[in-house]
Symmetry: C2
Subunit: 300 residues, 2 copies
């Protein structure tokens, strides 16, 4: 199917119509509802308005550095006071589900990632391995700000065993910091390990469909046509939405720019068209006038 | 040109004829003349016999962990007592030449590699950068057993500047250790940085032709048809030889197996045929009978 969105920004009445047509609103977090420890202006009000209007709101993040419990605290701290544990789908949580329910792993998991990822897996009852060991049945790569050469070498050795699974929480190449600086993401560390092992990792997070399967398993009756995926990264969020059959919306408060979406749209490579959003907004704060209209209608 | 070598091992008289036809014998080091700190039996005698018979012998190694001075010591320590500094072309030495003579770099070089690589570059008069700095004009990646996340993050940030060069000493994916263990190679770290920066590195070491340019610049009259490249890795040594127009010989004392060469030979992908050696020996010790015959002829 040819996709040729005009990539013009939508406004009040169009946003209202779109939200009325969707039951499930899926948000990426960083760059969409907050930047690090700062909420995007209006985002908390948008989320609570959606919930008040009976929408199912879920958060789908490739950030694997903290367990879901910590996310609830972060949501609360930044003013998203009505977000519950069950609405949060992080790549670390989905990795724990994958290990427990899909591959039903027996044996240890070697984690090249943050403590938060380790804690999420321990919550899922998985024995973990920090040091060496003969019983390692999976290597899981995430964002690891304590990466060392020794960890990379150990992981490479475990992966010599073809029965040892090779998983990555996500494939994000880098993450923005302030002042134009960046941090290498899980995708960077995964690439190092893919080269040293000669293998390809199974990616759990966006754009893989698996995160939608996690959501479907916990919310009954989720229909892709009823879903809107809102994110700031074309290569993860928009592609994830396309892969799942959702409508997609790019918000310009994060990584990707409108010009990049236009380049993908005009690309000769058909696969690039899956990265083009169906809708664009400057910020999800642009939703607020739509709720005012809805509220007016309801109070009339 | 279709290449269809039979991949049968060659012996005494064939080896003698081959050596008689070649003026330049290029050896890889690890897996060919030694394993770590142990010389391969007979290798030192082969090297001195070649030199004694008037052959130009050079060593072409992707190992970037020590400066050339240290290599001379290592050759001597392992019994290769007649090898001189001028015969040693390591990827660290060639990286220093590249920075000095090809790109004529002004400014600092951020090294993600071992102290030995840093020392080799300092020998070439290059200012180096361990910490941060605005004047970084090149990032050079090598084997780095002290890799940390912070180094990877700094290198990723420097590469945001499109004027900052991105170089790799080599692209070796991994290196063998004893007991089936491996160490990630420069190629693994380069892949991490390629993903986080969205750029491709310029590779200095084998299989890049640049190492041959370094040799040609220091030995007059090197003709590719007069060269034989002897190595243990199809993806680096044999491809390097093919890229330079040399005859190539695989020795089975290192990483690559005969079966892998057969797979490349039988591959449908024409590019894979450049990885197939022209000749195969079990060990370079197989050269020894050839010298006995040559010596007999000379003494008659």
């Amino acid at each position: 199917v040819a996709r040729c969105p005009r990539l013009t920004k939508i406004r009040g009445p169009q946003i209202r119509n779109l939200l009325e047509a969707k039951d499930f609103i899926l948000f990426d977090c960083d760059g969409v509802i907050w930047h690090g420890e700062t909420a995007i202006t209006g985002a908390a009000k948008v989320v609570s308005s959606l919930i008040r209007h009976g929408k199912n709101v879920v958060f789908v993040t490739n950030n694997c550095t903290r367990p879901r419990e910590n996310y609830v605290h972060k949501f609360y701290r930044l003013g998203f006071t009505d977000v519950m544990l069950e609405q949060i789908f992080s790549s670390s949580y989905c990795s724990a589900l994958y290990l427990r329910d899909v591959v039903k792993i027996r044996g240890q998991v070697f984690v090249m990632g943050c403590d938060g990822l380790r804690r999420e897996l321990q919550g899922g009852g998985r024995p973990l391995r920090g040091g060496g060991g003969r019983d390692v049945k999976a290597v899981l790569v995430g964002h690891d700000d304590k990466l060392t050469f020794l960890k990379l070498a150990k992981a490479s050795c475990y992966l010599r065993d073809p029965d040892c699974l090779f998983l990555a929480t996500d494939n994000d190449p880098w993450h923005p910091l302030s002042g134009g600086r960046i941090l290498p993401g899980s995708g960077s560390l995964t690439a190092a390990l893919e080269v040293s092992s000669g293998r390809k990792a199974t990616v759990i997070g966006k754009p893989s469909r698996f995160m939608f399967e996690c959501i479907s398993s916990q919310f009954s009756g989720v229909e892709p046509a009823q879903c809107l995926m809102i994110g700031d990264r074309l290569e993860t969020d928009m592609l994830f939405g396309s892969n799942c059959g959702f409508d997609t919306m790019l918000t310009l408060t994060g990584v990707s720019q409108l010009e990049e979406a236009q380049e993908y749209r005009d690309s000769e490579l058909a696969a690039n068209h899956s990265l083009v959003p169906d809708y664009v907004v400057d910020s999800i704060a642009d939703f607020l006038p739509a709720f005012e209209e809805l509220d007016d209608e309801q109070s009339n």
